[in-house]
């Protein structure tokens, strides 16, 4: 990974983290269990991406 790719990945991490925070806050307002679960799935996807990217950055 070159410097530019690394910076892009770091920037993406910031966005993903910020989106996770926003989705978690949004999820708290939802009353339907079914819809809560849908949002949780999306949060989990973003969390997976965040951890994968973190591993990539740590291993470089």
């Amino acid at each position: 990974m070159n410097l530019q790719e690394r910076e892009k990945l770091i920037a993406r991490q910031e966005i993903v983290k910020s989106k996770i925070d926003f989705l978690v806050a949004s999820q708290k307002t939802i009353t339907s269990q079914h819809l809560k679960k849908l949002v949780q799935q999306k949060i989990d996807e973003l969390l997976d991406e965040f951890h994968l990217n973190k591993q990539r950055l740590d291993n470089e």
């Binding site: 910031e14 806050a25 949004s26 307002t29 819809l35 849908l38």
Partner: protein
């Protein structure tokens, strides 16, 4: 399902709320999100949130551009010999290269692969040479 803004794409509606709540305290943010959810309805709200979660590309591009501009900001400092940097970066400083380099500094032309890394090492060399 209610939708106060049918013409707006779902991810954009959620993005607007996301931007609006960015600087807020957690409590204020939670209240703003709840008010918005009550306004558009729960199903529409979730639809917008899911679309927004999938759409990171637009933001990433804007952020990358800002990051690059920040990284190359030093090139526009008065103490920087732009002509010399151009020669070191391109191996020449003819009219078209100098012109292209000026547009790159202004963010109007993209940097080529490897150029940002090269500029970074040029900057480090310059800073080293300025040390007493």
């Amino acid at each position: 399902m209610s939708n106060k803004n049918p013409q707006r794409r779902p991810h954009q509606a959620a993005k607007k709320l996301y931007e609006k709540t960015k600087g807020m305290s957690p409590r204020q943010r939670d209240q703003a999100i709840l008010a918005y959810k009550n306004q558009v309805g729960e199903e529409e709200f979730v639809k917008q949130m899911l679309a927004f979660a999938d759409d990171t590309q637009e933001e990433l591009q804007a952020l990358s551009k800002d990051t690059i501009m920040l990284k190359t900001k030093w090139l526009n400092e008065s103490w920087v010999n732009k002509s010399d940097i151009c020669a070191r970066l391109y191996g020449k400083k003819d009219k078209s290269t100098v012109g292209y380099f000026a547009l790159q500094r202004q963010g109007q032309k993209p940097w080529k692969p490897g150029q940002l890394e090269k500029l970074d090492s040029i900057r480090k060399e310059l800073m080293e040479s300025l040390k007493i």
